[in-house]
């Protein structure tokens, strides 16, 4: 019996400090966000219980509704473009590295370089390069005779979001490349050898053998892309500003949430109730979708 108490005390000693920090700074704020979203607020003081009114506002009432759906639409664009361009490119690069194409080692190292840089530094660097008058991108296009292709990359409502997504991909392609590369390498060599013995062609080998076996890597990259797309903030802040300009065309949930929480969406006043409701939406989307994907991943893993 004494031994049991002693052991419990030791466990407490080891687990408690970390657990307290996580509870106070992650778990409690989650529930506080839900709680706060049910109230109306006067500046930073909780006022009256309003139930789901704040949610109703962001889903149905001008201007909240317009800003909210505009922002979420951009987050969806972030996710789909990143999946289609960055992650497919990563898949191809990962495959080529796995195939030990000439220079694979060097390419692997080069592609990973920008992954380490802060989004802020990358965003500012490219905002200089993409400057319409003085930036090197338009300058280069002019110098090679492609004047017609020069654009106000970050100043055009249609182009601004795709441009920022491209910059973000520049920074991040190395990551899916490495994850897929590791995924391919984990495929048992016996499978590959057997397929070659049977005379299976390269494309069929990829489609019918390699691809199904790297589904865990695909799921992880999909979940991370989802979380990343929902959390876009610094990219917008550094390249087109907190207002998500021009005319909200680059606004995302992250920037909208920040403006709502700290003032300037409508009145310039912080709107904690509305902000908390947006936070709850971000939580539900992130947690819900990643939980579903991870359960899905488990199932696929069993099949292996």
């Amino acid at each position: 019996m004494r031994n049991n108490v002693k052991q419990s005390l030791w466990i407490l000693f080891f687990v408690l400090p970390g657990l307290l920090i996580v509870l106070v700074f992650i778990i409690v704020p989650l529930f506080m966000s839900m709680f706060n979203s049910m109230f109306s607020w006067v500046s930073i003081n909780r006022d009256q219980w309003v139930g789901f009114e704040n949610f109703l506002k962001i889903f149905t009432q001008y201007p909240y509704k317009d800003r909210f759906f505009n922002a979420i639409g951009n987050n969806v664009q972030w996710f789909t473009t990143t999946m289609l361009v960055q992650n497919l490119l990563g898949l191809l690069f990962g495959y080529l590295l796995y195939k030990r194409i000439a220079g694979a080692n060097i390419f692997q190292r080069i592609f990973f370089i920008p992954v380490l840089f802060s989004i802020v530094a990358v965003g500012f660097l490219w905002s200089l390069y993409l400057n319409p008058n003085m930036g090197i991108v338009n300058k280069l296009l002019t110098d090679v005779g492609l004047n017609d292709l020069t654009r106000a990359w970050l100043g055009d409502e249609k182009l601004a979001t795709p441009s920022i997504i491209m910059v973000n991909m520049w920074r991040w392609v190395g990551f899916p490349t490495l994850v897929f590369y590791a995924g391919f390498n984990a495929v048992p060599e016996k499978v590959i050898e057997a397929a070659y013995m049977e005379g299976v062609g390269e494309w069929r080998l990829f489609r019918s053998f390699l691809f199904p076996l790297i589904i865990p890597s695909i799921t992880i990259i999909t979940v991370l892309t989802l979380i990343g797309s929902l959390n876009v903030f610094e990219q917008i802040y550094t390249m087109t500003g907190l207002e998500g300009g021009p005319y909200f065309s680059t606004d995302t949930l992250g920037t909208l949430f920040y403006r709502t929480a700290f003032g300037s969406v409508d009145s310039g006043q912080p709107e904690i109730g509305i902000g908390s409701a947006i936070a709850v939406v971000i939580y539900v989307l992130t947690f819900g979708i990643s939980a579903i994907s991870i359960v899905g991943l488990r199932k696929k893993e069993v099949e292996l």
């Binding site: 000693f13 992650i26 090197i136």
Partner: protein, 284 residues
Amino acid sequence: MIGDFRFRNSKLSRKILIIIFEIMLITYAVLILYPLMNMILSSFKTTREIFKNPYALPETWNFNNYVEVWGRGGFGGYFFNSFILTFFSIGAVLLFGSMASFGIARYKYKLAIPVYLIFLAGIMLPLKAAIIPLFLLVRQMNLMDTRLALILIFTAMSLPSTVFILAGFMRTIPGDFEDAARIDGCNDFGIYRRIIMPLTTPSIALVTIYNAVPVWNDFFFPLVFLQSDKLKPLPLGMSVFFGQYQISWHLLFASLSIAILPMLALYMFMSKYFIRGMTAGAIK
């Protein structure tokens, strides 16, 4: 290995395919390296030169840009602040994270799984979304505009993945050493410190990189919690600097180089560790 893309001994169609792939890879490598090279070259030029000859080498190598950014631009201070924040946050993460992992992985008790799940939930909860309650909490604790607030938040941000990786590893360590040490009269803390921690060192290295890079690069939390310029870390300092020196492109490029080059240098010496560390959460 069988099936490698070797140019020699390949059929013509395959040779053509390999050439196309090589061109793609080289193009992408240039797309990454050239902007970095141009940034470094521009950081030695004058603003006029950057606009006039963007591709050329600098006429004279102007090291003064760096001196100005480091001193008057305040980057010396920003650098120091980033270092302090990262050092103490990661210190706390490694200590509390390894202790919690030990408490979860090396004992058998009913609450072990719920406790583990609380840590895991933190991996999937975006901490940015919690900024309103965090803001109110930090105000209440009187920690606005202090380093301590950020160190606590960075620690919280990094603990979940740390526990995930370290507890996973500690579970695989066989119990024999522990039993032997216990017979020799070692208490639980001694087992943690002398037996388990030394065996966990390789994972500790991964966890350090996995957490230190995002903490070093973080912008959002300093933006919310710091007002004093003398406390700001690099990314936040950089956004202040970009606001003030909008038209002095030579200084902007020098400031970007100051922010990026140390990371690049570290990476050149330890690229394997960085690649493994950064992908630690996604690759088993």
